[in-house]
């Protein structure tokens, strides 16, 4: 397999075919799909900068009649809450991703050692959770009544930290892209197991770590379900839970006519539901959008799934 075709995203020199009519049709179809994919994201950005009353009157639009910064300003009023939620989300994302990558790559490295007899058992042990698992309720009760982690940030970190699929991806990369001789050589030169792993394997694992790490970081960043089930204290609420709470409070205000007029007045006459929530959505999804193009190049190289059997 030495003469592999280049990644489809690179310019493949071996396929210098003529760009016929078909190519333009294909390009057009893909372009339309791309635009359709992007429109909802575009709508978020436009709505965040649209005048509140314009949305209330004319509905959402891809191009507004009247622009406004009020929605963005309303978000800044969340101030403290937003900052602390950001802090929680960043902490959980960074800590969880690093912990997960470290333990999973150590595990993947260990079970890919060839004459390690226990690795058969460990592979099966890894695989079983993919076939059978306890489900949400059982997990919920274990975390709350046995591990006493309700309202503890660990409960946001641990459930997403190790997944069978990610270990398999890392193991595949070790098996396919890191020459075993390199590690043998390190051992002959007198490097211990830990040194071989940290100084030889881990640096070579970088493309896979980047891809898996980014997917993990996204999972942590976007996790709303664990937060909704386990987190009560305001200070420990991550961004996604803040977003859910905003929706709940809007619904509450809309459905309760007896909300004091002073509260409504304090919110600027109208309930700041449209533009400000969209501005909040931008604040929540923004960091991932910005980080993602830097990691994209690792996706194809680093996310190959090999044999699950090992």
């Amino acid at each position: 397999m030495s003469k592999k075709k280049n990644s489809a995203l690179d310019i493949a020199p071996s396929r210098r075919e003529r760009k016929g009519f078909g190519q333009y049709v294909l390009a057009l179809i893909l372009l339309i799909y791309t635009v359709v994919c992007f429109l909802p994201v575009w709508l978020v950005f436009v709505a965040a900068f649209t005048d509140e009353k314009t949305i209330a009157r004319n509905g959402f639009a891809f191009w507004p009649e009247k622009w406004s910064l009020n929605g963005v300003n309303a978000v800044l009023k969340y101030g403290d809450k937003l900052v602390s939620s950001y802090g929680v989300t960043i902490f959980v994302t960074v800590a969880g991703t690093f912990l997960g990558l470290l333990v999973m790559s150590m595990f993947a490295y260990s079970i890919s050692r060839k004459d390690f007899r226990l690795s058969k058992f460990l592979s099966v042990y890894l695989l079983i959770p993919m076939l059978f698992n306890g489900g949400q309720l059982s997990g919920y009760i274990c975390f709350t009544t046995y591990y006493h982690l309700k309202d503890n940030l660990w409960v946001l970190i641990l459930p997403l930290c190790v997944t069978t699929m990610n270990v398999i991806i890392l193991r595949t990369y070790i098996a396919n892209s890191i020459p075993g001789e390199l590690m043998e050589a390190a051992k002959i030169d007198g490097a211990g197991e830990y040194r071989t792993f940290f100084q030889i394997t881990l640096p070579l694992l970088k493309p896979s770590l980047a891809a898996v790490g980014f997917m993990m970081a996204t999972a942590y960043w976007n996790d709303w379900q664990n937060a909704l089930m386990y987190i009560d204290t305001d200070k420990k609420k991550p961004l996604q839970l803040l977003l859910i709470n905003i929706q709940k409070s809007i619904e509450f205000l809309l459905n309760n006519n007896n909300v004091p007029s002073s509260v409504r007045a304090a919110m600027g006459g109208t309930i700041p539901q449209y533009s400000s929530t969209m501005a909040t959505v931008i604040v929540v999804i923004g960091p991932i959008m910005i980080a993602y193009p830097f990691f994209q190049k690792y996706f194809i190289k680093g996310l190959t799934v090999g044999s699950v059997k090992g």
Binding site: A8, M106, L126, L127, G134, Q136, I244
Partner: protein, 301 residues
């Protein structure tokens, strides 16, 4: 046996390195598996799962008592799985091939970058976007069409709405995996086919598609174990957990989440969970057995 211990001792560094994952999986995956016995218990908050008294099959009564709801959510779960998996797989493969075929490589890369974006938007945020399109007073669709469709109280439309949201969110990223396979096809195969006079479509049919089959099989096999599990965010967040839509949108996972959040019906929920896990396991074993009969290479285990 002695050999085995000697081998393990020799590899003690590897045992140590494997230990953290071993322990984490033990606590987050294996202990909850044991917790499924809860389905046969009269669960008491103060006693915990294992010390609560046995209740026999009492909890499973609800499958008969609330038969309609149980049948409905099981049906929804399975039908949505079939819909999403068939349409999703088809579109993922099609998109991967289309992008791979496009010779404007820079353009292909840019378009792919944009198509992947939705997968990174959480359902908590997607919910707001969907509302912007479908809301009855301010919704974009009603304004553009000049209609007054009440999406959030019209359940029959939701299978299609959810399908569109799912396609929008997952297709771009879903195709990446298949593109990694396409990137690995030996270009000599294409060249040889060209010399033999094969046109573009024949090359796709005889080289590209067959090379994707193992990956499609693996992905389908992996998903079969999750037939009974759903993308909770889609059914809980995007529908705004709207009770009026349950007939068309309630799946087992969203039922379980709701009962956790309300701390109610834990006994029934445990029975539903056990049902979910056992059916998932059986389907997975069956699918794997089937694949091994046809093409042993592609089986998971």
């Amino acid at each position: 046996m002695k050999d085995f211990f000697r081998n393990t001792w020799k590899h003690r560094a590897h045992v140590v390195m494997a230990l953290p994952v071993f322990l984490i999986l033990f606590f987050i995956m294996y202990v909850p598996m044991a917790g499924l016995v809860m389905a046969f218990k009269d669960y008491d908050f103060s006693l915990g799962i294992f010390r609560s008294p046995w209740a026999g099959l009492k909890n499973f009564n609800f499958m008969l008592v609330s038969k309609d709801m149980f049948v409905r959510m099981t049906k929804n779960t399975i039908l949505y799985y079939l819909l999403f998996t068939s349409v999703g797989t088809f579109l993922n493969v099609t998109l991967a091939i289309a992008i791979d075929q496009l010779l404007f490589k820079k353009m292909a890369k840019t378009m792919q970058t944009i198509m992947i974006i939705p997968v990174f938007i959480s359902y908590a945020a997607v919910q707001f976007i969907v509302y912007a399109f479908l809301g009855s007073n301010t919704g974009l669709i009603n304004h553009m069409l000049g209609t007054n469709i009440k999406f959030y109280s019209n359940g029959t439309l939701w299978p299609w709405i959810l399908l569109i949201v799912k396609i929008w969110k997952d297709t771009g990223y879903g195709s990446v995996l298949y593109m990694s396979v396409l990137a690995g096809i030996d270009s000599e195969l294409y060249e040889a086919a060209e010399i033999d006079g094969a046109n573009k479509w024949r090359k796709i049919w005889h080289i590209t598609l067959p090379s994707l089959i193992p990956m499609v099989t693996v992905m389908l096999l992996l998903s079969v174990g999750n037939v009974m599990r759903s993308d909770t965010g889609l059914f809980y967040q995007v529908t705004r957990n709207n009770g009026g839509l349950y007939k068309y949108t309630q799946v087992i996972d969203s039922y379980v989440l709701n009962s956790i959040l309300r701390s109610s019906d834990f006994g029934y929920t445990a029975a539903a969970s056990l049902f979910q896990s056992v059916v998932g396991l059986l389907l997975m074993l069956f699918a794997n057995w089937l694949v091994r009969k046809i093409e042993p290479e592609n089986a998971l285990f």
